[in-house]
């Protein structure tokens, strides 16, 4: 004759034993090292454009690019650059005809991104008519140029 109480107790005990022996404490997964964000691409310094005009706006850009000027104009060269550099000396070398020097000036900057630098020249007694050129250099290397004329 079987004893239900003893059987139930034995069954429960057996169940508990089975559960504790087979059940392993779930181990926490190892921490995943965070993936570092990719470093932003470094843009090397360079001249993007050189535009000439007879005036500039507050942003140092030429509102209306021109290539022919009047004798009494102040001539502006607006140089758009991009990229970063600790120090850059931008210079504008203006010449007349077959290379006669007109003027040279420079601006030393520490660009951290897009920037605009303007150079301008004026002549109290008016410009001689003819062909001119402005060369833009960065630390001595020619990075851009524009030709223009002064009308008779």
């Amino acid at each position: 004759m079987h004893h239900p109480k003893r059987l139930g107790g034995a069954l429960a005990l057996g169940l508990v034993l089975a559960l504790t022996s087979s059940c392993k404490r779930a181990e926490a997964p190892p921490p995943v090292a965070p993936v570092p964000a990719p470093a932003p691409a470094v843009v090397p310094f360079g001249v993007k454009s050189v535009q000439l005009g007879s005036s500039i706006g507050p942003d140092k850009r030429v509102p209306t690019p021109m290539s022919t000027f009047a004798k009494g104009d102040t001539i502006y060269a607006s140089v758009a650059t991009d990229g970063a550099a600790p120090t850059v000396t931008l210079s504008a070398r203006w010449t007349y005809g077959d290379g006669q020097p007109v003027n040279e000036s420079s601006e030393t900057i520490s660009p951290t991104g897009p920037a605009v630098t303007e150079f301008h020249i004026s002549k109290p007694d008016g410009w001689p008519a003819g062909s001119y050129k402005v060369e833009i250099r960065a630390n001595g290397a020619v990075l851009g140029s524009q030709q223009f004329t002064v009308a008779e």
Partner: protein, 85 residues
């Protein structure tokens, strides 16, 4: 040569420039050297010790007009600015 057009004169050309980019940062000026007066010091003694020339006491006095009223009267603990040697 005869008939050659004279070259134009550009000596009176005026020029200028400006940029949206910042100028290079100026290196910070080094802090001036100082000396703390101890008992027995005098300006000429300090000048001799620190500047190599006792006659430079006047320079020390001029540099510290805000703390020294009388060049013959300096007190231990006073911190004096030293001019460049």
């Amino acid at each position: 040569m005869a008939g050659d057009k004279p070259k134009p004169d550009f000596s009176n050309v005026k020029s200028g420039s400006s940029s949206t980019a910042p100028p290079p940062a100026q290196p910070a000026k080094p802090a001036p050297k100082t000396y703390t007066v101890v008992a027995g010091d005098s300006l000429s003694k300090i000048a001799k010790k620190q500047l190599g020339d006792a006659n430079k006491w006047k320079q020390i006095f001029e540099a510290n007009r805000d703390v020294i009223k009388n060049p013959d009267l300096i007190k231990p603990g006073q911190v004096l600015k030293l001019p460049d040697a």
